[in-house]
């Protein structure tokens, strides 16, 4: 069981309000997409839920337990893992060592399906290569696999497809499928509309820090206020 619930969440930096009044529930095993124009506060939302930054207001509960304001390592230990928008690995060590650290720090042992994932993305063949010598796409996938390697019940993915070639984006689909097979719920922040429409039965729309909509894509994307929010934004699915 791993229900993640967010209530009245807000984040301010000095005078700048990044988002406010964010409330939603991510049920156990569910898949939720989060979209919105640049600067809408999506990455900060992940930062706050994952404990990297404390919220200015609101509550975060995991399985009914209040985890608001807990630091990142505690949230991770409770089973919430996140990936990063930019490639984020331990650059100077090998792929093998990166995975080893993720498993070691996650303290839940190697999750089932980890080796299969490595095989699938072609990382098994490159275990001893230094991680920052890998091509961009593979580094991104390594980051995703590392998040999975901590054995989470909830995964927060920050633009997993960003920077990937068209052909590589299906890896993200495969990754999400693997993760869900393992029983985890997933929240994906993305700009790639195709991917969102393909994968997510439910999406949230964030615009200028405000939650505009929460529902199935077909419905949400047809709403005039959602469309208007995107008219000003130049970034769409490549």
């Amino acid at each position: 069981m791993s229900e993640l619930r967010v209530e009245g969440l807000a984040k301010r930096f000095g005078g700048l309000r990044v988002f406010q009044d964010i409330s939603f529930t991510l049920p156990s095993g569910a898949l939720l997409g989060v979209i919105g124009p640049n600067g809408a506060g999506k990455t900060t939302l992940i930062n706050v839920i994952s404990g990297r930054q404390p919220p200015s207001e609101g509550r975060i509960t995991l399985d009914g337990k209040d985890v608001t304001g807990q630091p990142a390592h505690a949230i991770s230990r409770l089973g919430v893992a996140r990936s990063f928008q930019q490639t984020n690995t331990f650059k100077s060590v090998s792929v093998r060592e990166n995975i080893a650290r993720a498993v070691r720090f996650g303290q839940r042992g190697m999750p089932a399906g980890l080796e299969a994932l490595l095989q699938e993305f072609g990382l098994s063949a490159r275990l001893d290569e230094q991680s920052d010598k890998l091509p961009y796409g593979l580094q991104k996938m390594l980051g995703l696999v590392m998040a999975f390697a901590t054995g989470p019940r909830v995964l927060l993915l920050d633009e997993p497809a960003a920077g990937l070639e068209r052909a590589e984006r299906q890896h993200v689909d495969r990754f999400v499928a693997h993760v869900r097979d393992a029983g985890a719920s997933v929240l994906i922040v993305e700009h790639d509309m195709d991917l969102i429409r393909r994968l997510c039965p439910r999406i949230l729309v964030l615009d200028a820090g405000v939650l505009l909509a929460d529902g199935p894509p077909a419905e949400v994307l047809a709403r005039p206020d959602v469309i208007a929010a995107y008219l000003g934004d130049t970034e769409e699915a490549a």
Partner: protein, 319 residues
């Protein structure tokens, strides 16, 4: 497929480091030169303090607190000496434990904050220690310090001659090196992860501040040992020995020697102490040399002397 690599507990560098100090014991048997004893003793004190700095550098943290913890260790021994307590084993334990205990609450306070705060606060700590030493004459002798400290005793025998003091310093340095090596070897992946990418490490579940605190506490104990060694060498505990400016020296030894290997502070201390002695009566210019070398290391030779040499060796072998 064995995904998780099993690694040896003992690394080559750590073994070499320990051997260096085992070998150092031989020096008093080889020579009677008072000058060599003096330089060696300075280096043996300096290398322990440099190791204290190096432990935190493994996690990308720069500590200026080594003089403060050295003072705690040194004055603890000096005060105990006034009560005729001089046994080397008891005093070694005290010189390590008292600063380490003081470091626990300090560490808990400072290490949850950004790395930048750590630097500033440790700097302020060494200023505080200086002031404390001056303002507590009842305990520490104030600006006069505590002089005439009785020599260390081992199994009842006094370590009073130059030779014996050098051997004592070798022993302290060996002990400190073993502790440093064990700590940094056992936790090397944790420290390395924190050094390279703290945010990622924390997001994977590593309780980063605890490792930083552990490092800080052990580093404080190691610095305390350096203080014991210094006070024994001088037979005096005086505030000027623990001036906050000396932190810069130990930082220089570590950075110039090379922060990636336990051999770094050893090589750095040996070379810098030797170089300082070459300046003779103009010893204060040594800091200018340190400054230039620090700039060179940071701009070009990131691995310091040991790092650069090992890179060259690797290239020579690979070529």
């Amino acid at each position: 497929m064995t995904l998780i690599p099993k690694s040896r507990f003992l690394g080559g560098a750590e073994i070499a480091a320990v051997l260096v100090f085992v070998a150092a014991f031989a020096v008093p048997a080889i020579t009677k030169s008072v000058l060599i004893y003096s330089i060696l003793n300075q280096a043996l004190v300096g290398v322990v303090a440099a190791q204290s700095v190096w432990i935190m550098l493994r996690m990308n943290l720069l500590s200026f607190a080594s003089p403060a913890f050295m003072a705690i260790g040194g004055y603890t021994v000096a005060i105990a000496g006034q009560y005729e307590i001089t046994d080397v084993f008891a005093m070694t334990a005290a010189a390590f434990l008292v600063p380490a205990l003081v470091a626990i609450p300090l560490g808990a306070l400072v290490l949850r904050l950004r790395g930048t705060y750590f630097v500033l606060v440790t700097f302020v700590l060494s200023q505080i220690m200086q002031l404390l030493l001056f303002e507590t004459p009842g305990l520490t002798g104030g600006s006069n310090g505590i002089s005439g400290i009785p020599p260390a005793t081992i199994f009842g025998t006094e370590l009073a001659t130059n030779r014996q003091v050098v051997l004592f310093a070798c022993g302290i340095a060996l002990f400190a090196t073993i502790i440093t090596a064990c700590l940094t070897r056992f936790f090397r992946q944790h420290f390395a992860a924190i050094e390279e990418n703290e945010i990622l490490a924390e997001s994977l579940g590593l309780v980063v501040w605890r490792y930083k605190a552990l490092g800080f506490v052990v580093a404080a104990g190691i610095a305390g040992l350096a203080g014991y060694s210094l006070v024994t060498m001088l037979l005096t505990a005086h505030p000027s020995s623990f001036d906050s400016g000396t932190a810069v020296d130990f930082i220089a030894y570590s950075i110039i020697g090379g922060r990636s290997s336990i051999l770094g502070p050893i090589v750095g201390t040996a070379l810098m102490v030797y170089a300082t002695n070459l300046f003779g009566t103009h010893g204060q210019y040594a800091q200018g040399l340190y400054g230039v070398l620090i700039l060179v290391v940071v701009l070009a030779l990131r691995g310091g002397i040991v790092g650069t040499v090992s890179t060259l060796l690797r290239k020579a072998r690979g070529a």
